[in-house]
Amino acid sequence: MKNFDLKNGRRFYGHGIPHIKCEQLTGKLIVVEGADGSGRSTQIIRLVDWLETNGHPTVQVGLKRSSLVSAELDKAQQGNVLSRTTLALFYATDFADQLENIMIPALKAGFIVLADRYIYTLMARDMVRGMDEKWLKNLYGIAPEPDAVFYLSVEPEELVQRNLSKTATLDYWESGMDLGLSRNLFESFLDYQTKMQSTFHKLQKTYGFDIVDANRSTDAVTKELRKKIGALLEGK
């Protein structure tokens, strides 16, 4: 396969990006996945702090942060006017823009790229909404395989508590309200997050990411992440 580099073992999941060769991507790509309230952002802040203190240059990316479409995507979501395929492609555009303009240059320059969510969240959201997994896999075949993926797993009941204590409400999309599972936000949130979790477990079988028990304290999770990333950086 032309998109596979034996030396550093990196590959694209599918067709990859035109004119980009895997062996050029010498940095490390570390992904943190998890629902809102799983502690993702906190852990990433801590990791950046730790990595930079130890002399590693880092770059951060996340969903809906591209300069190309993030504003339009926000607007579309507020009106909830886009159909599923459209929204999926819009998110893919946002991902591709950051991939090509931020992640790839950084990986070429040997940086550590920390991704606050990656294609797995995007795929899981669409799979829960009944979209074809094969279609999604082809679409996201542009993504390079990360060096590590940590899925911060938290029980839905615990997620509710954390979200409510933070914002006193539950997010419309994170509750999957567009699915019409329940008109009750609370019920819908639990139902949707349970579905998301089982989809992640299904994806885990294909993509083999690391499931981290994030029901534990922030410090305990940080400790585990550092240990695993430390080993990765040492080439173990």
Binding site: P18, L68, A71, S83, T85, L89, T93, A96, E100, G141
Partner: protein, 249 residues
């Protein structure tokens, strides 16, 4: 890829494809005018015209920050929005939908830009095949002249300047259009294109277009029940009022 007819849609979709300057837009516009005059339920949809996606596309183009991948995806987003929001409901409702460019534009352009063909086709595989695709084939020189005469300045992506084919926009445009034409020709058979001679004069072509459409599609099935929208209702006459009063008693 199945056509809308094969998928049992009551409506039919007609697409035109071709290079910039092939005259396809003029032809489909004249086709629309005719169908409307015939009292047929018709809807026209243009490539890259979804309101929501447009601002992102034009921003990307203006700042020249699109890569082949994002260029492809943003056009796919635009297409999906029109497809799901307009095309499918209208075809379900028995409309004749006319598309100025369809997925084949992406298949030709994005692949010319270096995107893997399977990836592009996979992304668009939610779309059914048109019931009729007319490919307007003009000599490359003819298309080029039409574009270059009308517009003195070529746009960056239009000229394929992102591909580094040539530093001269005109030279780049020529090479780029030539490659797109090759892509179109290569898929012509696979997708059942009806090739139209776009070097002919406009009126003659339109006669052929109309004949082809009426041969392929049983147009009388697509007529509106009421040929014209109803006139605005008149204020009730004295008799009407009396009648109403009679009834209410």
């Amino acid at each position: 890829m199945k056509t809308f007819a094969e998928l049992n849609f009551p409506g039919r979709l007609i697409a035109v494809e071709g290079l910039d300057g092939s005259g396809k837009s003029t032809q489909i516009y004249l086709l629309k005018r005719w169908l409307e005059a015939e009292g047929i339920k018709v809807y026209f949809s243009e490539w890259n015209s979804s309101e929501l996606v447009k601002s992102a596309t034009s921003k990307g183009k203006k700042r020249e920050l699109l890569t082949p991948t994002t260029f492809s995806l943003i056009h796919a987003t635009d297409f999906a929005d029109r497809y799901e929001r307009h095309l499918v409901p209208l075809l379900r409702a028995g409309y004749i939908v006319l598309c100025d460019r369809y997925v084949f534009t992406a298949f030709a352009r994005d692949v010319t830009r270096g995107c893997p063909p399977d990836w592009v086709r996979g992304n668009y595989n939610f779309a059914a095949q048109p019931d009729l695709t007319m490919f307007f084939k003009a000599d490359l020189e003819v298309s080029l002249n039409r574009i270059l005469e009308g517009r003195p300045k070529l746009k960056f992506f239009e000229a394929g300047m992102d591909l580094n084919l040539s530093k001269d926009p005109y030279e780049s445009f020529k090479i780029f259009q030539g490659r797109i034409l090759e892509q179109y020709m290569a898929m012509s058979k696979e997708f059942n294109f009806v090739t139209m001679n776009a070097n002919e004069n406009v009126e003659k072509q339109q006669v052929i277009v109309r004949k082809l459409v009426s041969e392929r599609i049983d147009l009388k099935k697509f007529k509106r029940r009421s040929p014209l929208p109803l006139p605005p209702s008149l204020p009730p006459t004295v008799e009407d009022k009396e009648e109403l009063e009679d009834k209410s008693v």
